[in-house]
């Protein structure tokens, strides 16, 4: 039996074809996959609401979702929340994202160009995320205190390697034929770099940038949570210590929305800008 036979058979008598060769269902219980995603997300929200409303978990522990949302909205209309929590965090996240992206693409290129350096660094770059970089934060605090500087430095150090590695993958992906095309069109080095080489690597670089955004977010919030006197991470941890449960859940909800929005936005951008189709 050849694959062609199998496919022909599929068209004539469906019953003998194994189910796994058929295309997957478009709908399950009349709902599409996207509808299921929303239904399950909504299900979690409703569950939290019910568990809290029915008193299955004490009010001092869990709030109904509607009250969390109300607390978030109240925070968002509060000027001091912007000044002491939201803005410092967002600034630190954006600054470390930009620093790690720009430096990562450039450093990645420098390392990629020098074969010896690259071979020496490769095993350590691969193992980089096995080491909890966050262990450096106490060191930075002991040296420079709990300012914004150590936080941005930590977040950049943590994020940059993802950019370096993915840009290097991108530079690797440029095939010889692109180089030859550049030569036969007699472009200058500069033109080749900016119009041929770099654009070719862009899809991979974008994967690195997506990770850098998530890692910057993670490390800024974790640092604020652990030792800081401002930022939204500090706000939530402080609310917890004060037993201000509404503030705590309000702050958490705002962070969740920011994190998911950032992830969706960047994934959307990656899929829009990439010329190779979705990279997930």
């Amino acid at each position: 039996v050849t694959p062609a036979d199998v496919l022909r058979e599929r068209d004539t008598q469906r019953s003998t074809i194994p189910g796994y060769l058929r295309s997957p269902p478009r709908r399950v219980a009349t709902l599409s996959a996207t509808a299921w995603t929303f239904a399950m997300g909504l299900g979690v929200v409703v569950l939290v609401e019910l568990v809290a409303r029915l008193g299955l978990v004490a009010r001092t522990t869990l709030l109904p979702f509607t009250e969390m949302a109300a607390a978030s909205l109240r925070l968002l209309t509060d000027g001091s929340f912007y000044d002491d929590a939201l803005v410092p965090s967002l600034v630190a996240i954006i600054v470390s994202f930009i620093l790690s992206s720009a430096l990562g693409v450039v450093l990645g290129y420098a390392i990629w160009r020098v074969t010896g350096v690259r071979r020496a660094l490769d095993p350590y770059l691969t193992a980089y995320y096995a080491v909890p970089t966050f262990a450096l934060y106490p060191l930075l605090v002991a040296m420079w205190g709990t300012g914004r500087g150590p936080i941005v430095l930590l977040a950049t150090t943590f994020s940059i390697v993802a950019v370096i590695m993915n840009s290097m993958n991108g530079y690797d992906s440029v095939p010889a034929v692109v180089r030859k095309l550049g030569q036969s069109l007699k472009v200058t080095e500069r033109q080749y770099f900016f119009k041929f080489f770099l654009p070719y690597a862009v899809p991979y670089i974008l994967v690195g940038l997506r990770l850098a955004a998530l890692y910057s977010l993670l490390s800024v919030l974790a640092a604020e949570f652990l030792l800081s006197d401002q930022g939204i991470g500090f706000f939530v941890s402080n609310a917890y210590t004060r037993f201000a449960i509404a503030d705590m859940y309000g702050g958490i909800l705002i962070i969740l929305v920011i994190a998911i929005a950032v992830e969706r936005l960047i994934t959307w951008m990656v899929n829009r800008l990439t010329w190779m189709g979705s990279l997930q």
């Binding site: 039996v1 694959p3 796994y20 060769l21 269902p25 262990a135 060191l139 917890y240 950032v262």
Partner: protein
């Protein structure tokens, strides 16, 4: 990350024997880092930055203290449990969801969404629901590790599940779905599973260390934070190096296993 591109340059100069060259290449990065560290310590006020030698002495000192040994053992135990759970649960769920193209699509955005949340913001919830003990540390580390493992295994399984070669092979052998899964898809996903397991290790360790720093009753994380207030930079540096070594050894072993299995399955290592 692929290495083989670099072979060309060795023809220019008389090359060292292979093994020696590997050692030199491997040692170069740590050597440069240690030199830079020593130079910084020498230039800056030495009470602010401890040099490599001071820190190594401190590290040896720390390691002999029974208090630190207890913390080390504590961390290793919790890490082992939470890592095993993260790999097991993440691998199973990832594989199961990857097998169903429909549910893969339905769950992916939720799992990706949860993965992108900085888990540390949920830490108060762990404290509120699970208390200040081992349970919080274990589950916090688990939650860090399980999603990356799940995502990688899920994507790999989904790719294999829709690969016409495997499906047609199974169909032409008149395999049942169960046999397709057991004899073709499960072995084929093994290399990706090992990659996922390696990636998951670092994240689980990070989660555990964070939890220990935040709770502050036991473990290497607490030891680190304790020294901030004492401003013992030499001690902190010694511990940072120790934690780095602790993370690198399992990572190297996992990488070795991954390379071996992948080579046997595919004849070559990809990615």
């Amino acid at each position: 990350v692929s290495a083989p591109t670099a072979e060309v340059t060795s023809s220019r100069r008389p090359s060292l024997p292979g093994a020696l060259r590997t050692v030199v290449l491997l040692a170069a990065t740590p050597a440069v880092l240690i030199l830079a560290w020593a130079a910084t310590a020498a230039l800056v006020d030495s009470s602010l930055v401890a040099g490599p030698w001071d820190s190594t002495q401190q590290m040896a000192d720390i390691l002999t203290s029974s208090r630190y040994q207890e913390s080390l053992l504590d961390t290793v135990q919790v890490l082992a449990v939470s890592y095993a759970l993260a790999v097991g649960v993440g691998g199973l769920i990832g594989f199961a969801l990857g097998l169903s193209p429909f549910w893969n699509r339905a769950f992916s955005p939720l799992i990706q969404g949860f993965y992108s949340i900085p888990k540390v913001t949920l830490f108060p919830l762990f404290l509120v629901f699970l208390g200040l003990g081992v349970l919080t540390r274990t589950s916090f580390a688990f939650v860090h590790g399980v999603f990356p493992v799940m995502i990688v295994v899920m994507a790999a399984t989904a790719n294999l599940r829709l690969d016409p070669i495997y499906l047609k092979l199974a169909a032409s052998l008149r395999m049942s779905y169960g046999r397709l899964v057991r004899t073709i898809l499960l072995p084929a996903v093994l290399p990706s599973f090992l990659t996922a397991a390696r990636l998951g290790f670092g994240v689980t360790f990070l989660g555990l260390l964070l939890a220990e720093m935040l709770i502050g009753n036991g473990g290497l994380g607490e030891e680190l934070v304790r020294n901030i207030h004492l401003v013992r930079i030499d001690r902190i540096l010694g511990q940072v190096v120790l934690i780095g070594l602790l993370a690198l050894i399992p990572n190297a072993l996992l990488r070795l296993l991954e390379v071996r299995v992948t080579r046997r399955m595919q004849g070559d290592v990809r990615g």
